[in-house]
């Protein structure tokens, strides 16, 4: 493919470039396999698995445990969407640039497209599907509805999860903190002013404030 001939570009989230991601996926799997195998210290390192060999992994997603067999190169995003049917997290670039795939890793926003499924073992993963409250939408979701904080809705799952992560770390963010909190989530429709309002309102809702129109 054309992009294979290009040099890797740095990733704003501090992760790997797409090309690096593909070429080092096998090594990452070896590393993880080595960690798992660390208990009995054998002399022989485990052989490098083929790219399409499947390894067992246990994922905790939205409070439920899933035991799966995945290719070491599979991204968490692919596994969430295709293996678990959780399609709220979206694929926008698969190179850590748009944030449409944002999920929470132990409560912290993370790009699922830049995370190997094998790397996601041992953490609590939360997707948009996990933010609903009993009987309806969660606070951030209600605020996004009230403030029309989206247009096409494609970046919206990532935006909502990013705001959720922001509010878990900082329950009462100021305007600049809100902007920084969603700065890793592109919205080409340009609903940003309403996203800012929704995030501020969501902070109030989470503190027990009332639902209101705007």
């Amino acid at each position: 493919m054309a992009d294979d001939e290009r040099p890797p570009s740095p990733d704003p989230a501090g992760g790997l470039s797409r090309r690096g991601f593909l070429t080092t996926a096998g090594l990452g799997a070896v590393g993880l396999a080595a960690v798992r195998a660390a208990a009995p210290p054998e002399a022989e390192p485990p052989p490098e698995p083929a790219a399409d060999a499947r390894l067992p992994v246990t994922l905790r997603v939205n409070g439920r445990t899933h035991r799966l067999r995945v290719e070491p190169r599979w991204s968490l995003l692919w596994v969430l969407r295709s293996e678990l049917g959780l399609t709220a997290a979206k694929s926008g670039c698969e190179r850590g640039e748009c944030g449409a795939c944002t999920v929470l890793f132990d409560g912290v926003p993370r790009y699922a497209c830049m995370t190997l499924a094998l790397e996601a073992e041992g953490v609590e993963i939360t997707t948009l599907e996990g933010l609903a409250e009993e009987g309806g939408l969660g606070a951030v979701q209600r605020a996004f509805v009230a403030h029309d904080a989206f247009q096409c809705g494609y970046c919206t799952p990532g935006q909502i999860v990013a705001v959720e992560g922001l509010l878990r770390a900082n329950p009462a963010p100021g305007p600049e903190e809100i902007r920084q909190g969603v700065a890793g989530n592109l919205c080409r429709c340009g609903a940003y002013p309403n996203i800012f309002r929704a995030a501020a309102h969501a902070a109030e809702l989470r503190q027990g404030g009332p639902d209101r129109d705007r």
């Binding site: 493919m1 054309a2 992009d3 294979d4 001939e5 290009r6 570009s9 740095p10 797409r18 790219a51 399409d52 290719e71 190169r73 692919w78 969407r81 295709s82 399609t87 709220a88 997290a89 979206k90 694929s91 926008g92 670039c93 698969e94 190179r95 640039e97 748009c98 599907e129 939408l137 979701q141 996004f144 509805v145 009230a146 029309d148 989206f150 247009q151 096409c152 809705g153 494609y154 919206t156 799952p157 909502i160 305007p175 902007r179 920084q180 700065a183 989530n185 592109l186 919205c187 080409r188 429709c189 340009g190 609903a191 940003y192 002013p193 309403n194 996203i195 800012f196 129109d213 705007r214």
Partner: protein
């Protein structure tokens, strides 16, 4: 029974209860809950994944394609290329009707042209197989710049050369106009190619069963995809069902069909399984269109009293490898926006070895505004007149670009006057000047721009059904897509307004050629004024049928009855009423089906939306950095249908315009390989939350125009992004006295010019 929408003053709403309110979207829940199934979310049993091998060269001839290794790889079920049976499908019709290319044309005229495609069990396996296809190329010389492309000796994209003359337009006596001017300004402008870059990638899932093809496509118009796929594959329209319930943004790039849909269909036919083919982000930057790069030379004359005497525009646009429309509508604002008797416009398209342009949000207009609105500001400065005042001095009542046909309504003056007032134009100008006098690294400035959009009237055809059920709930059936503008919400509000049905009892079926009515694609700011009147006509038809059924029960003539508050009521004697649920005819037939179609627009007048935008910026005198501090958009689009989605469009258009002015440039490796250098968002920068001012104010000019159509509305999606970039450039000039004539702003060059322009201030 059919009701054609009948535009007339008495049919217009004098007052509204629902329409115009700031109401949340009817489909908000599924969009925030993550349950909306976008085409790229769809998973079907047995679904395969496809990937495409593309030319890595800007211009090359494919000498050999060897797919033998790829076909044997794990998980691979099919490989398609130019030699595959049935794959030699014509593509890109030329001006003479003959195709310029084909599905896997061995002559690749831009980077990213399709060479082969693979279907496999997983996308990882499909990409593995694509990488295993061996291709021999003869690399050919390429040209990717419009001015270089029309110079003598440039490599020709097509036989006959790269220059395609565009429109030539002239009125009055341009030479006499310039002779009569007190001040003449002539400037050169350029705009970089801008990419649509919607968040959802382009693609589809195709399933071929027997003679029936079904495509779930991320599209702005399911019927457009249906007709184009059917033509490409030689199928009857009825055998191609296209479904597009959601679309993650398009901005024009999803108006037309891409090769991916046909490739996915062929792979599905070959394998007997559903095939999902969505592009990668990198591929989408190569082959899904762009706002073409332009070069404009604009000359304008003005008298001291503010009378515009002449315009002369020469425009060049790069349509890419296959479009002759690279300069399309580049000149429209010069022709039409301001009163001027003497105008000459000449435009030229250049074929280049790069991805083909596609209509992008107000094609040609932001580029034209970039030139015109800066030149108007410069004229105002030369004659010592306020920029708002000069524009208001030249507001036309007729469309000069259309031979003087009158606008049905024009809100241009109101946009300028009320927008300036709401923004605090005079105070902001004075405040910025005072701040500059106080010194400092950051220089503050204010600027504005105006615009109109050639479209926005809407028009026929459109057909809509409104099914009124016995329990008072409604199913609205229309083929149009909701591309994020809130179409479904506005249509439900129209039904609610007319039939008194709460929004919660209205269900919408849309964007499915198998089950919903014909609609043209959603784009060009025409969906609300196209579908809305048809929806209202269908609701009125429903109401008329309910009244007719009730007349039999009440023993009164239908003419004496009307629908009010969920009952049919005698106009003269409101005590005689029948709740809708008790109408015996409705109880018998269970449902009333109202049909509405879109009428023709009234002849002899022009309907289009108008805009004025105002902004305040600050510019770093040392680095050239430009910060947008606040924006106000004053927009007249006829009736405001939903204040909430109206405002959201204004925010979005201004945001896109900020990117056009400040950061967005498709960079091609000019003079070298011709390849795309910034092939994803890390290097092609669209506005993030950090580039957009929180203070964007929408100031609607709510001016219903009942003579235009049955709902009195015009379109909004395009005008909101037309004057934005020019307003920023004018504000930068106000701040530092330097004109940025090329998009996007080059900070280094701007800083250098600031230093050169004001050496005294810095010492």
């Amino acid at each position: 029974m059919t009701a054609e929408s009948r535009p007339s003053a008495d049919a217009g709403w004098a007052t509204t209860r629902v329409v115009g309110q700031p109401l949340p979207r009817v489909d908000a829940h599924e969009r925030v809950a993550g349950t909306a199934i976008f085409p790229s979310d769809l998973q079907l049993p047995g679904m395969l994944h496809a990937a495409v091998l593309r030319s890595p060269h800007a211009h090359a001839r494919v000498l050999r394609v060897d797919v033998a290794k790829a076909e044997r790889m794990p998980g691979v079920l099919a490989v398609l290329h130019d030699g595959s049976p049935g794959a030699q499908i014509a593509w890109h019709p030329g001006r003479d009707g003959k195709p310029l290319s084909r599905l896997f044309d061995p002559h690749c005229r831009h980077e990213g042209e399709e060479i082969a495609a693979v279907a496999a069990e997983t996308p990882y396996q499909a990409r593995d197989a694509v990488r295993a296809i061996a291709v021999d190329y003869e690399v050919l010389p390429a040209v990717v710049d419009a001015e270089e492309a029309i110079a003598p000796g440039a490599p020709a994209v097509h036989p006959g050369g790269n220059r395609v003359p565009g429109d030539r337009y002239e009125r009055g006596d341009v030479a006499a106009g310039f002779a009569a001017a007190d001040e003449v300004v002539e400037m050169r402008f350029s705009t970089a190619a801008e990419l649509h870059a919607p968040l959802e990638l382009h693609g589809c899932v195709a399933r071929w069963e027997g003679e029936q093809l079904t495509i779930w496509e991320s599209t702005q118009g399911v019927y457009a995809v249906q007709s184009e796929v059917a033509a490409a594959l030689g199928l009857p329209l009825a055998r191609v069902r296209v479904i597009g319930h959601y679309v993650g943004g398009g901005f024009g790039s999803k108006l037309a069909t891409g090769k991916w849909s046909v490739i996915a269909a062929l792979l599905s036919r070959r394998t007997g399984r559903p095939v999902r083919l969505f592009l990668t982000r990198e591929e989408s930057f190569l082959v899904t269109g762009n706002r073409p790069a332009s070069v404009m030379r604009l000359k304008a004359g003005v008298k001291r009293d503010g009378t515009l005497t002449a315009f002369e525009l020469e425009g060049l646009g790069a349509g890419g490898a296959y479009s002759p429309n690279g300069a399309g509508l580049l000149d429209w604002l010069v022709r039409d926006l301001y009163t001027c008797p003497n105008v000459r416009c000449t435009t030229t398209n250049a074929f280049i070895h790069a991805g083909t342009e596609r209509a992008m949000r107000a094609p040609g207009h932001p580029q034209g505004a970039w030139a015109l609105e800066q030149v108007i500001d410069e004229l105002a400065r030369r004659i010592g007149m306020d920029p708002v005042a000069l524009r208001r001095r030249n507001v036309p009542a007729v469309s000069q670009g259309r031979g003087g046909m009158p606008y049905l309504t024009t809100g241009l003056d109101a946009c300028l006057e009320e927008g300036a007032k709401a923004f605090g134009w005079e105070e902001a100008k004075a405040g910025a000047a005072a701040a500059r006098r106080a010194g400092g690294v950051w220089a503050r400035g204010v600027g504005m721009g105006a615009g109109l959009w050639i479209g926005g009237a809407g028009g026929d055809p459109a057909t809509v059904f409104v099914n009124y059920f016995i329990d008072g709930s409604v199913n609205l059936n229309m083929g149009a897509s909701d591309i994020g503008t809130g179409t479904k919400t506005v249509m439900a509000m129209i039904v609610s307004e007319e039939l008194g049905v709460p929004l919660a009892k209205i269900q919408i079926e849309h964007a499915d050629t198998g089950t919903t009515q014909f609609a043209t694609p959603s784009g060009g700011s025409k969906t609300v004024p196209t579908e809305g009147p048809a929806v209202r006509a269908a609701a009125l038809d429903c109401a008329a049928q309910l009244v007719a059924l009730a007349a039999a029960d009440l023993g009164l003539p239908a003419a004496a009855l009307e629908l009010r508050d969920g009952a049919v009521v005698a106009r003269e004697d409101p005590a005689r009423r029948l709740p809708l649920g008790e109408i015996s005819g409705l109880r018998r037939q269970r449902v009333v089906v109202g049909k509405g179609t879109r009428e023709r627009n009234p002849a002899g007048s022009v309907i289009c939306p108008f805009a004025a935008q105002f902004c305040e910026v600050e510019v770093n005198r040392l680095t050239g950095e430009v910060r947008v501090l606040r924006f106000l958009g004053a927009h007249e689009s006829g009736r405001v249908m939903n204040r909430m989605t109206f405002d959201n469009q204004v925010y979005g258009g201004i945001t896109m315009g900020i990117g056009f002015a400040l950061t967005e440039r498709r960079t091609l490796d000019r003079g070298q390989t011709g390849k795309l250098c910034n092939f994803a968002w890390h290097d092609y920068k669209i506005p993030t939350a950090l580039e957009v001012p929180a203070a964007i104010v929408s100031h609607p000019i709510d001016l219903p125009v009942p003579e235009a159509n049955l709902i009195g509305a015009k379109g909004l999606g395009e005008p909101v992004t037309i004057p934005t970039a020019a307003a920023i450039a004018n504000a930068v000039f106000d701040a530092v006295g330097v004109r940025i004539t090329d998009t996007p702003v080059n900070l280094t060059r701007l800083a250098g010019r600031i230093a050169a322009a004001a050496p005294a201030e810095r010492s």
